[in-house]
């Protein structure tokens, strides 16, 4: 059995996008996540209209995965062998609030299906899977903070039991105060991978 390596990683926070530790996009003109995500989309030009239908956290996860996978040839792998393991602390609380507001309006009970469908965090996994036609294992963990040990334990178990050979994993969170996406790609080539290395690349932008 081969080994896993960190192939790429992408970090989005505070109006900045870092790919493999390098700043690749920033927009200091905008002061809210909504215009920032649109700005990233316009810069990246992925021509994926489904983006506009997503809620904010799915947009964030989608854009982070676009950066992560933009130069990666996923066709080199069996789509069943690519797993997605994500985590966050606030689940989909912002969209949950939007849904609650949409059903609390006076003058009728009209829940919006397109809002409701985003009231589960694993929809982010769904959006990435749809975009790249991935059919592998997946899991979403709700934890207080980014936990490299939790993610690497789960990834290592899947890898050792031959459930997956490639992994898209990390943290995507939005709450009323901040947003952050950190995704890494593990594959048979790249730089050294273990819990400590994941913590190291995550903490590169801790104070930005």
């Amino acid at each position: 059995m081969g080994k896993l390596f960190i192939n790429k990683y992408c970090h989005i926070k505070n109006n900045k996008v870092f790919l493999d530790g390098k700043l690749v996009f920033s927009d200091d003109e905008v002061h809210d996540i909504k215009p920032f995500l649109k700005s990233v989309y316009r810069f990246l030009k992925p021509a994926y209209n489904k983006f506009f239908k997503m809620d904010e956290i799915s947009k964030l996860a989608y854009l982070c995965s676009e950066y992560l996978l933009q130069d990666v040839d996923l066709s080199a792998f069996n789509k069943d062998d690519i797993a997605i393991v994500l985590s966050n602390s606030d689940s989909t609380s912002i969209t949950d609030q939007n849904h609650q507001n949409s059903i609390s309006k006076e003058g009728g009970f009209f829940p919006s299906p397109s809002i409701f469908v985003y009231t589960l965090p694993n929809i982010m996994i769904g959006e990435i899977s749809i975009r790249h036609k991935l059919k592998g294992e997946n899991a979403f963990f709700i934890v207080e903070n980014f936990d490299a040990g939790l993610l690497t334990n789960h990834i290592n178990n899947l890898y050792l039991t031959r459930k997956a050979k490639v992994f898209i994993a990390g943290w995507v969170n939005i709450n009323n105060d901040s947003y952050e996406a950190f995704l890494f790609l593990l594959s048979p080539c790249g730089k050294k991978y273990n819990k400590g290395e994941i913590e190291k690349v995550y903490n590169q932008h801790k104070y930005i």
């Binding site: 209209n49 506009f52 239908k53 009728g108 009209f110 919006s112 299906p113 397109s114 469908v117």
Partner: protein, 84 residues
């Protein structure tokens, strides 16, 4: 009818978050699903909600949806015939 079609275009763009799309980009005769606007099953539910919320029309039989939501023109005809 033309006025209703224009209103529907605006409501659909807004309700379905079809950003970057203007009413004049939509051909009222074009299929809403598959080709044309390329809407999906969640959008279909959203259109059912729009019909009820904006026009007070409840679609009782889901099978009727295929005909009603074929295009914006068929939606407008159905609204004209069924709005109280």
């Amino acid at each position: 009818m033309d006025e209703l079609i224009e209103k529907l275009k605006i409501q659909i763009i807004e309700q379905l978050n079809l950003e970057d799309m203007e009413p004049e980009d939509i051909n009222a005769k074009e299929p809403l699903f598959g080709e044309g606007l390329g809407l999906d099953s969640i959008d279909a539910l959203e259109l059912i909600v729009l019909m009820e919320k904006e026009y007070g029309i409840k679609i009782q039989n889901p099978k009727d949806g295929q005909k009603i939501f074929r295009s914006i023109e068929t939606m407008a005809s159905y609204i004209q015939m069924n709005q109280k």
